[in-house]
């Protein structure tokens, strides 16, 4: 019983999905909409199952995942490193703030053209877009985390005569960790979007490119198939960060599980 209550989502989620698919199918049948516009769920599933057996889908998927991962990696380095430094050095934060914001208010799609001009049609411009898009939430969250260390905790370190390095390692970094991870959760999704947007803009590889190709061929079931694949990969990336949350901050409210009553 208890198990069921804790895993309620395991029942509700498939149920909601089933209801959604049922109404989708109902709509297709009753409205008589052309299957080129909205194919029936069964057709989409068939198409997707065919596609996953082709090498092409996995090659395109791999490219997208690769670009996303590398882009996200750089975003983490810039975001966490930059956020930590800016959080500790007040004047630098004030000096850099307009520039950081500038990278965010530029419509990224305009940058894509520039990156393609510089790097051609390989994975580099996609990685770059991915990084530019993803580093911002990571940086701002890290900054916030590093700056909002509890004063009482600081007093503890101070009264114990801790060195700056010890204070960073044992207080500031772990204290900022929940905020950093919240930044990573947003960041990984943006890195993914960045890679796909980059693929839209040019090149011949990746799921973004595949979407374009199906669009040009008026292949609606294929388009839906790619959409499913995109969703599956997106979920996988998100779950990865969720796993990170559980392993990096097991002490945090968002993770802590109830344990049996206290020993005597």
């Amino acid at each position: 019983m208890n198990f069921l209550r804790r895993r309620r989502a395991w029942i509700t989620t498939p149920l909601l999905l089933a209801i959604f698919i049922y109404f989708w199918d109902l709509y297709c049948r009753l409205s008589g909409i052309h299957p080129f516009i909205v194919p029936r769920p069964g057709a989409v599933l068939d198409q997707y199952l065919t596609m996953v057996q082709t090498r092409a889908l996995w090659e395109h998927s791999w490219i997208t995942v690769f670009e996303t991962s590398v882009g996200f990696f750089f975003a983490c380095v810039i975001g966490i490193g930059g956020g930590a430094i800016l959080g500790k050095v007040r004047w630098l934060e004030e000096a850099m703030r307009p520039f950081v914001i500038a990278t965010q208010v530029i419509p990224k799609i305009a940058l894509v053209s520039l990156f393609i001009l510089w790097f051609g049609f390989g994975p580099e411009p996609k990685i770059l877009v991915s990084t530019v898009l993803a580093f911002f939430p990571i940086l701002t969250n890290t900054l916030l985390g590093v700056k909002s260390v509890d004063l009482g905790h600081k007093d503890v370190m101070k009264s114990l005569n801790a060195t700056r390095w010890q204070t960073w390692r044992m207080l500031e970094l772990p204290s900022a960790m929940p905020a950093i991870i919240a930044g990573l959760e947003v960041g990984v999704v943006l890195a993914y979007i960045g890679a796909i947007v980059g693929e839209f803009a040019g090149g011949t590889k990746g799921l973004g490119y595949l979407t374009l190709e199906y669009q040009n061929g008026f292949n609606a079931p294929g388009l839906f198939g790619v959409l499913i694949q995109l969703t599956v990969i997106g979920f996988a990336l998100y779950l990865l960060i969720l796993g990170l949350r559980r392993s990096l901050i097991p002490w945090h409210e968002s993770v802590l599980v109830e344990r049996p009553a206290v020993p005597a």
Binding site: L160, P174, I249, P263
Partner: protein, 271 residues
């Protein structure tokens, strides 16, 4: 003043020498005179309680002894060493100080045992030795069995015990406590006060304890320093000489009540 007769113990050496110390805080609205020129001497193994209304500078005094705040003027010596060398704190004097704050201030990302042993970790003591010491301390303060838990899994009183264990971990000669039980209910508070007395008698440390509660002050103290506000200064000093260990029943004695009444009168005069 009031108390049980007995030969006065030979005076022990002075452990905390707070000489002509004054504290002013510059703020945008003007300078706040938090503590007026004050002299306090605490002898080795003495239990001194700072008592006074809110804002009379108790925390400020304690933070100055702890080396967390630099006095505006005057000198502070701890265990015979000047706490401040210019604007640098003397690390050897600091090593003799353990502090328990009003909030336990445990690090939520470390288990209880790692929190308790943290001062030892900072000092580079080996892992094995640290964990042994942490276990012994958890036993001492009465939270045995909780070593592996996260701080948030413990009750407020237990967290405060862990904070006390952390302060004891490196055997400081002096314990500074700023309303450590302020957030606890009356019954837990009584228990904790008995515990503090027990620990103090085992460890033979010097304690400076801050509180709002008159009864708590009289129960714990060898000497009560009553402070008055704006600016904070010493209003009176009261010796309390009930024999140790004291139990809660001491509170029903007429002599105990006399001291409480007397202090309450003085506190009311301030308003």
């Amino acid at each position: 003043m009031v108390g049980v007769s007995g030969a006065a113990a030979p005076a022990r050496p002075v452990e905390i020498d707070f000489a002509g110390v004054e504290k002013r805080f510059p703020t945008p609205e003007g300078v706040v005179h938090a503590v007026a020129k004050t002299d306090i001497q605490v002898r080795q193994q003495e239990f001194v309680v700072l008592l006074g209304p809110s804002g009379c500078g108790k925390t400020t005094i304690l933070r100055m002894i702890a080396g967390l705040l630099q006095p505006s003027s005057g000198t502070i010596a701890v265990a015979g060493r000047d706490l401040w060398q210019g604007s640098r704190r003397d690390s050897q004097a600091l090593a003799e100080l353990g502090i328990v704050f009003q909030d336990a201030n445990l690090f939520p990302w470390y288990s209880i045992e790692r929190n308790v042993a943290m001062p030892l970790e900072l000092r580079g003591v080996s892992h094995r030795e640290r964990m042994e010491r942490a276990r012994a301390l958890c036993d001492l303060v009465g939270i045995k069995g909780f070593e592996k838990r996260w701080p948030r899994e413990l009750s407020g009183g237990m967290r405060q015990r862990a904070a006390i264990a952390r302060a004891l971990s490196y055997d400081p000669e002096i314990l500074l406590m700023d309303e450590p039980f302020g957030a606890l209910d009356a019954m837990t508070r009584d228990t904790m006060n008995l515990e503090i007395q027990r620990l103090w008698m085992i460890q033979k440390s010097t304690i400076v304890f801050v509180t709002h509660s008159i009864a708590e002050a009289v129960f714990l103290a060898d000497r009560i320093i009553l402070l008055s506000p704006r600016p904070g200064r010493i209003r009176s000093v009261t010796e309390v000489t009930f024999p140790r260990p004291r139990d809660m029943v001491v509170q029903t004695q007429p002599e105990f009540q006399d001291i409480v009444r007397h202090l309450r009168g003085e506190l009311e005069d301030m308003e």
